[in-house]
């Protein structure tokens, strides 16, 4: 029995399931909600199956069609892919449950197929070991994400969706040009084979530059974040949640893979630059978040700041720094999804998301406010949350490597986060001046936000087990002691 479960090619199941679910939802729009929820549960189970397989058998390589790299395309799953897949499954299940209460019937018909295809693209991206295949998954991901932003309707959403589409295409094309240069020079598209063959040359430098710029544009690293706040804030709440939690992390994942495996010799001046941009993002995003008057814009700028932290690990480049950074990425995904869901609930309840008028949400939507506060704890990096463990590891890594200035950025960023989270909570408790009509918020929307926020806190307690799982296949050197 156990042998059977381990023998199933879960990597393929994880890619095929969402595609089939998406097609089914497209064919039968009237029952798309139940089909979508069933697919979400199935994908969640399949991720469990894959984790079991990885624990039993170590990192997996799967040759599609039996050809093997370089002729065919390989799938590859190790601890790093697993972390991303688990993140997508947790947030994805949450978003699915939340959306089943959020969308009107007409919107839901479009939402479900797009969302399941987006999920399929994410899974395919986290499992791919082939540079061109990664490009195809990026395209699928980008198109589905743009369509989901536009789902909100209205002028603001359409404008920001259009800008998002153009930025996304530009980023993909930069990436593709880099892939072409690498293929021409080394005759393979497989990441592992390229890692052995790559040697410095002008073409490789050009490829590093092009692919990094393209992916950074999609990841919205400061100062290329200009498209993010508008797109993430104007999308429907569950879409904002998955854009901030998952979609920006996908291009970051590709960059990280390239950085760890294909371009390890390019890590001096360029990695310092990435660290500097990351630090600027942390401070700028935090300051801009403080200045916002709309809740969803505040959360979107907080994403800009949190993405900055991820790049602080590049100049440090120790196993501890990578582990901490990835744990931050993981806990941010859960906390930020919970925050956007909470904002969606407030918007549904009060009909607006002006921070100054969040009167007494505490009494009327206690679960939502609890979710927002718990998520805030993880975003600020207070113990015992997942965000705390992650920042602790990053602090330790920066002290140990003697680059103490990154530690200052970490602390300042945490203070800024505390300032903008408490600003929202403060307004939520103030006395109401104008009574207004209240919308109905379905219970499942409140509970999903709370559960996701709670899991973000829980990550702080289960970190040793999580680090063990992340270390499967040693994606970033031998494990971090701590």
């Amino acid at each position: 029995m156990i042998g059977d479960i381990v023998a199933i090619p879960w990597v393929v199941v994880l890619i095929v399931l969402p595609l089939m679910g998406g097609m089914a939802c497209f064919l039968f729009p009237t029952i798309s909600k139940s089909l979508g929820l069933m697919t979400a549960l199935a994908i969640f189970t399949a991720v469990g199956g894959l984790s079991w397989q990885l624990v039993e058998e170590g990192a997996q390589r799967y040759a599609i069609g039996g050809w093997g790299a370089s002729l065919g395309i390989d799938l590859y799953a190790d601890g790093l892919s697993l972390l991303m897949l688990v993140m997508a499954a947790l947030v994805g299940l949450g978003v699915s449950v939340y959306s089943s209460g959020y969308f009107s019937r007409d919107k839901a018909n479009h939402f479900w197929p797009l969302w399941l295809f987006l999920w399929g693209a994410l899974n395919a991206l986290f499992l791919s070991a082939d540079l061109f295949n990664l490009y195809v998954t990026l395209e699928l991901l980008g198109l589905a994400a743009v369509a989901l932003v536009a789902l909100a309707g209205g002028r603001g959403a359409l404008t920001s969706a259009m800008r998002y589409l153009l930025v996304s295409l530009l980023g993909s094309l930069f990436y593709l040009l880099g892939v072409v240069l690498l293929y021409h020079s080394f005759g393979s598209l497989d990441i592992a084979i390229l890692a052995q063959r790559v040697e410095p040359s002008p073409a490789v430098w050009a490829a590093v530059g092009l692919m990094s710029v393209g992916l950074l544009l999609k990841t919205a690293l400061f100062p290329m974040h200009f498209w993010l706040p508008a797109a993430h804030a104007s999308a429907p709440a569950p879409v904002s949640a998955l854009l901030s939690a998952l979609v920006v992390k996908a291009s970051f994942y590709i960059l990280l893979r390239l950085w760890l495996e294909v371009f390890p010799q390019t890590n001096t001046a360029f990695s310092q630059l990435l660290g500097l941009l990351g630090a600027a993002a942390v401070l700028w995003g935090g300051l801009m978040a403080l200045r916002q008057t709309r809740l969803k814009m505040l959360i979107a700028y907080s994403t800009v700041a949190q993405l900055g932290y991820l790049f602080l690990a590049f100049p440090l480049a120790t196993s501890c720094a990578w582990t901490g950074m990835l744990y931050l990425l993981f806990s941010h995904a859960l906390a930020k999804a919970a925050m956007f869901m909470a904002a969606g609930n407030i918007l549904r309840y009060g009909g607006h998301d002006r921070i100054a008028d969040l009167d007494q949400v505490a009494q009327r939507l206690p679960l939502t406010l609890a979710a927002f506060s718990l998520a805030g704890v993880s975003i600020m990096g207070l113990p015992p949350s997942g965000g705390f463990v992650a920042k602790w590891l990053l602090l330790e890594a920066s002290m140990n490597s003697g680059q103490w200035w990154w530690a200052i950025v970490l602390i300042l960023g945490g203070l800024l986060a505390a300032a903008y989270v408490f600003r929202v909570i403060g307004y939520a408790f103030t006395q109401a001046e104008l009574p207004h009509e209240a919308g109905v918020v379905p219970a499942r929307m409140e509970w999903t936000a709370l559960v996701l926020a709670f899991v973000a806190i829980l990550l702080g307690f289960i970190s040793p087990a999580a680090f063990e799982l992340m270390g499967i296949g040693a994606p970033f050197g031998v494990g971090c002691a701590g």
Partner: protein
């Protein structure tokens, strides 16, 4: 000049500077390229026998890297769902075209369908294949739409959607079906590979053609029973 115009001008100058630097850098990198590492054409040639087709392009697209093509079919479908989700159902009444367009489309459409079929068939051993055939089929659809033809409402619901997912569906079924009998995902037994590829390609051609025509129309056709 206003301050706004001034910043616009500086911005444009900066942009030109940045693009020049990039162009020079890229030009240098391309000039410095050594001769190609040879790519994978040799490997493709060695394995062509086992792929089931004799045209290397088709072999790569449908067999060696068929997984990429599978995902590309999903991209096409997502593009259409995205366009449909924007709403804006277009004016969907039948109209009568002028005599020239009418005659032309009567002559051309059967021809285009024939050409699409030929391109699909010839793809196994010569340039051609699903994407080319699909585009020609799509052109036929566009011509029909231009000359005022409209899909009947009764076909605009489930039947249309079935044809739209046919390509992706065939890929997933053909790839996943052999998984159940113990093969690797998308591993076609070489005795059946030729036929399987042709079937998948035929389904993909239909889907591509109809998707392109539907994208041309812009909005989601109104479904429902005809009165």
């Amino acid at each position: 000049m206003t301050a706004n115009g001034q910043t616009g001008k500086t911005f444009r100058l900066l942009l030109v500077l940045l693009l020049t630097v990039m162009a020079v850098g890229l030009g240098y990198a391309v000039l410095e390229l050594h001769s190609s590492a040879g790519g994978l054409s040799k490997q493709v040639a060695t394995n062509l026998e086992a792929s089931g087709v004799s045209n290397p392009v088709t072999a790569v697209l449908l067999n060696f890297r068929g997984y990429d093509t599978l995902l590309e079919m999903a991209v096409l479908l997502v593009a259409l769902i995205g366009v449909w989700s924007l709403g804006g159902i277009p004016d969907y009444r039948e109209s009568s075209p002028g005599p020239v367009l009418d005659t032309l489309s009567r002559l051309l459409v059967p021809m285009l369908i024939l050409v699409a079929g030929y391109l699909l068939w010839v793809g196994t051993h010569a340039p051609g294949g699903a994407f080319q055939a699909g585009s020609v089929l799509g052109a036929a659809g566009v011509l029909l739409l231009l000359s005022g033809w409209r899909l009947e409402k009764i076909f605009a619901g489930l039947p249309l959607r079935v044809i739209l997912i046919l390509g992706l569906g065939a890929f997933v079924t053909a790839g996943g079906g052999f998984l159940l009998i113990g093969n690797v995902f998308m591993e076609y037994p070489s005795a059946l590979a030729g036929e399987l590829i042709l079937m998948v390609e035929a389904a993909a051609t239909l889907s591509i053609g109809v998707t392109l025509a539907a994208l041309f129309l812009g909005g989601r056709p109104e479904a429902g029973l005809d009165k």
